[in-house]
C-alpha cells in the first residue's frame, strides 16, 4: 500500500518536474529567439549569414536555422555542440572536429542545467518571425533539467526497486521473528494436550510472544507438578496399602485354619473376601496411575496377541468351567505383534474375560476371538450375559462407574478404564456392542514390527 502510494506520488512528481522543465526550455528558446531577432543578420553574403547564425547558435547554445519567406531553409548553424569559436573564424566546415570526442564524453549529470556544458539537447523547437518575411527556428537548446529528471527517474526506479526488496526482506524477517515463536508455542501446547506434560515453549526475546511463551511455560510447569504429584500420591497410596494388606490377609488365613465353628469361619471368609477386594482395588489404582504416568510413546515392548490370548484363555478356562459357562476360544495362529508389554496385553484380555464370565449366568457362553484384520490385530470378547443398558454403555469406561444391573456382582469399577487406557496408549480402540442378550467388547490394535532382539 505504502509502495503504491510512493509510486503514485513519484509519478506525479516526475510529471510536474517534466512539465516544469519543458516550460523552462520553451522559455529559454523564446528568450534566445528574441535575442537573435533583436540583432538581425547582416544581409550580405550567405557566408556572413552563416557566420551570424553560428555566432547566434554559440551564444544561445541552440541550433539556429533561418528560413526564407518561401519556407526554404537558407542557413543552418548545425548542432551547437559541433560549434566552437574557430568555426566563426571561417575555418569552414570543420564541424567534424571533436564531435566524436564530445559525443564520447559521458554526459555529466545536470550539465545542461547551467547551460555551459554540452549536455544533452532539448527536443523542443521554437520558430520566430524575423520581421522581414524570413523567420528563425531555434531547436536543440540545452536540455535544462531533463538530464537531472531522467537521472532522477532512473534513480527513483532503482530506489523504488531497492525499497521494495528491502521491505520484502524486512517483512520476511519480521514475520519469521514473530511467527517462529508462535509456531513453537502452538507445537508445545499441542504436545501438552497430547499428554506430554514436559512440553515447554522456547522463550525468544522479551516481546509479547516471548511473554506469552513464558506464561505458557509457567502454566505448563504448574499443571505438570500438580498432575505428577497427584499420580505419585495415588501410586504411593496404593503401594503403601499393599504391605498392611499382605499382613492382614496372612493373619486372616492363619485365623481361618484355627477357628473351630462354622459361624466364625464364615466371618473370617467374609473378611478375606473384603481384603481380596481391597487388594484388587489398590492393584488397579496402581496400574491406572502408572499408565497415566507413562509417556504416550514410551511403550518399548511388543507382544504377540495370539499367544497372549491363549495364555489368558488358559487362565480363565477353569473359572468359566467352574461357573458353568461354556468358554469358546477362537484364536488365529498368529503371530499378531502389537506394541504393548505382554503383561499389559494380558491385563486387557483378562479384564474383559473376567467381566464376561462374571456377568454370564450358568449355561451361557463366553467367546474369545482373535484375528488379524486389515493391518490391525483384533480381539473380541462376547458373552451371553445380562448386557449393559443402552444409556449406560457410554459410561462403562469411566472410573468407578458400575452399571446399575452390575451392583450385585463384585468388582472395582476400574477394569474397563484400565482396558481403555492401555489400548488407547498403544494407538488402538475399544468398542462395545450390547443388548439384553449379551455384550461384545472389541479391541483393535495396530500391528507392530515383531521384536528383533
Amino acid at each position: 500500500m505504502a509502495l503504491l502510494t510512493a509510486a503514485i506520488l513519484g509519478g506525479i512528481l516526475i510529471a510536474v518536474l517534466a512539465n516544469h522543465y519543458t516550460r523552462a526550455e520553451d522559455r529559454y528558446l523564446t528568450a534566445s529567439a528574441r535575442l537573435v531577432v533583436a540583432e538581425p543578420p547582416p544581409l550580405t553574403t550567405l557566408r556572413d549569414l552563416t557566420l551570424w547564425a553560428r555566432a547566434a547558435a554559440l551564444t544561445t547554445q541552440t541550433r539556429v536555422q533561418v528560413y526564407g519567406a518561401d519556407g526554404a531553409l537558407v542557413v543552418d548553424s548545425g548542432s551547437p555542440d559541433a560549434l566552437d569559436a574557430g568555426s566563426l573564424l571561417g575555418r569552414g566546415e570543420g564541424r567534424g572536429h571533436g564531435r566524436h570526442d564530445r559525443r564520447g564524453l559521458p554526459n555529466p549529470l545536470g550539465g545542461g542545467l547551467f547551460g555551459g556544458g554540452h549536455g544533452s539537447r532539448s527536443g523542443r523547437a521554437l520558430t520566430m518571425d524575423m520581421g522581414n518575411g524570413a523567420y528563425v527556428r531555434l531547436s536543440e537548446g540545452p536540455a535544462s533539467g531533463r538530464d537531472a529528471l531522467m537521472a532522477a527517474v532512473v534513480a527513483w526506479v532503482l530506489a523504488a526497486a531497492l525499497a521494495v526488496g528491502l521491505a520484502a526482506l524486512a517483512g520476511w524477517l519480521m514475520a519469521r521473528r514473530i511467527s517462529r515463536p508462535v509456531v513453537a508455542l502452538t507445537e508445545a501446547s499441542d504436545r501438552m494436550a497430547a499428554g506430554d506434560l514436559g512440553a515447554r515453549a522456547p522463550v525468544a526475546g522479551g516481546d509479547e510472544v516471548g511473554r506469552l511463551a513464558e506464561s505458557f511455560n509457567g502454566m505448563a510447569a504448574r499443571v505438570e507438578a500438580t498432575v505428577t504429584s497427584l499420580r505419585r500420591f495415588v501410586a504411593d497410596a496404593a503401594h503403601e496399602i499393599g504391605t498392611p494388606l499382605t499382613a492382614l490377609q496372612a493373619d486372616l488365613e492363619l485365623a481361618e485354619r484355627k477357628v473351630g465353628g462354622d459361624d466364625e469361619r464364615r466371618l473370617v471368609d467374609r473378611a478375606l473376601t473384603q481384603t481380596d477386594r481391597l487388594a484388587v482395588l489398590s492393584d488397579n489404582l496402581l496400574q491406572l496411575s502408572r499408565l497415566e504416568a507413562d509417556e504416550p510413546a514410551a511403550e518399548r515392548y511388543v507382544a504377540d496377541l495370539a499367544s497372549v490370548a491363549r495364555e489368558v484363555a488358559d487362565a480363565v478356562a477353569s473359572r468359566a468351567e467352574q461357573a458353568g459357562v461354556e468358554f469358546v476360544v477362537d484364536v488365529a495362529a498368529g503371530p499378531l505383534t502389537v506394541a504393548l508389554a505382554p503383561a499389559r496385553l494380558q491385563t486387557v484380555l483378562a479384564n474383559l474375560l473376567d467381566n464376561a464370565v462374571k456377568f454370564t449366568p450358568e449355561g451361557g457362553t463366553v467367546t474369545l476371538g482373535v484375528c488379524g484384520e486389515a493391518g490391525r490385530a483384533v480381539a473380541s470378547v462376547s458373552d451371553t450375559g445380562v448386557g449393559i443398558p443402552a444409556e449406560e454403555q457410554g459410561a462403562v469406561f469411566e472410573r468407578f462407574h458400575r452399571a446399575r444391573n452390575a451392583s450385585a456382582y463384585p468388582g472395582s469399577g476400574l477394569g474397563l478404564p484400565i482396558v481403555q487406557a492401555v489400548v488407547e496408549r498403544a494407538g488402538g480402540t475399544v468398542s462395545l456392542a450390547s443388548s439384553p442378550a449379551g455384550s461384545t467388547f472389541r479391541v483393535t490394535l495396530p500391528l507392530a514390527r515383531p521384536a528383533t532382539g
Binding site: 494388606l245 499382605t246 496372612a250 488365613e253 485354619r257 477353569s318 476360544v329 508389554a341
Partner: protein
C-alpha cells in the same frame, strides 16, 4: 502339616515389615518348615552365606537397599538355592529385573499366604527333586498334602473329606503335575474297568465337585486347571 521329619527344610525370610514378617514366620512354620527371619538385606545375605538355607523369600523393599541387589549379592556368593521375590508392584519391570538378578520366581503384594506356600513348595520340589515319583506315598498339590497309604488329603493340618473317585482323580493328577490329560484319558485311568459307562460330562461334574473341596476359592480354581479344548492338569 507338621508331619515333617528330621529333614525339615530351612527357609530364610527377608522382610522388614514386622506384621508381614510375623505372619510369614507363623504361616510358613505351620507347614513344617524351619523359618528364619531377617529384617535387613545385610542380615539376609549373612545368614544365607553362613547357614545356607534351602530357599530364600526376599522382599523387594528393604531398609538398607532393594531386594534386587540382595538377590544379586547372594548369587555372587555362589548361592544356588531358589529365591522367591516379593514385589510390591504388578509391574513388568520388577518381574524382568527380579528374574535377571537371579530370582527364580516372584509374587506380587498383596499375596495370599496359601499362594506363597504353594510357590515355596513348588520351588523346593523343582530344586531338590522330591516327590516326583508316582510311587511316592506322600504327594503334594498346591498347598495340599496327599497321603496315599492313609487315603487322606490335608491342608494346613486339616483333613478334607473326598469321595474315593475324587481321591483317585486328585492322586492321578498329582502324580503327573503339569501334564495335561483329556477327559477320555482321565476316565480310563481313574474309572478304569467301568470306563465304558462314563462320558466326558462325568469328568466335568467330578472335577467341579472336587474343586469345591480342594480349592480355596472354587470360583477361581488354582489347583486343578482346565486347559481349553484339551482337558485338565494339576497346577505346578
Amino acid at each position: 502339616m507338621p508331619t515333617m521329619t528330621d529333614r525339615a527344610q530351612t527357609i530364610l525370610v527377608v522382610e522388614d515389615d514386622p506384621a508381614v514378617g510375623e505372619a510369614l514366620v507363623e504361616g510358613i512354620g505351620t507347614e513344617g518348615y524351619r523359618v528364619h527371619w531377617e529384617t535387613t538385606g545385610e542380615g539376609g545375605v549373612a545368614f544365607a552365606r553362613d547357614r545356607s538355607p534351602h530357599l530364600v523369600v526376599l522382599d523387594v523393599r528393604l531398609p538398607d537397599g532393594n531386594g534386587f541387589d540382595v538377590c544379586r549379592r547372594m548369587r555372587q556368593l555362589g548361592l544356588r538355592q531358589p529365591i522367591l521375590m516379593l514385589t510390591v508392584q504388578s509391574d513388568q519391570l520388577d518381574k524382568v529385573l527380579g528374574l535377571e538378578m537371579g530370582a527364580d520366581d516372584y509374587l506380587t503384594k498383596p499375596y495370599h499366604l496359601r499362594e506363597l506356600i504353594a510357590r515355596i513348595r513348588s520351588l523346593l520340589r523343582r530344586a531338590y527333586g522330591e516327590f516326583s515319583s508316582t510311587e511316592a506315598d506322600i504327594l503334594y498339590a498346591g498347598d495340599l498334602t496327599i497321603d496315599r497309604t492313609r487315603a487322606t488329603v490335608t491342608r494346613g493340618g486339616k483333613s478334607l473329606n473326598l469321595t474315593p473317585t475324587e481321591f483317585r482323580l486328585l492322586v492321578f493328577l498329582a502324580q503327573h503335575p503339569g501334564q495335561v490329560f483329556s477327559r477320555g484319558q482321565l476316565i480310563e485311568n481313574v474309572w478304569g474297568s467301568d470306563a465304558d459307562f462314563y462320558d466326558d460330562k462325568t469328568v466335568s461334574v467330578h472335577v467341579r465337585r472336587l474343586r469345591e473341596k480342594v480349592e480355596h476359592d472354587p470360583s477361581d480354581p488354582a489347583v486343578i486347571l482346565t486347559v481349553p479344548g484339551l482337558g485338565y492338569r494339576l497346577a505346578t
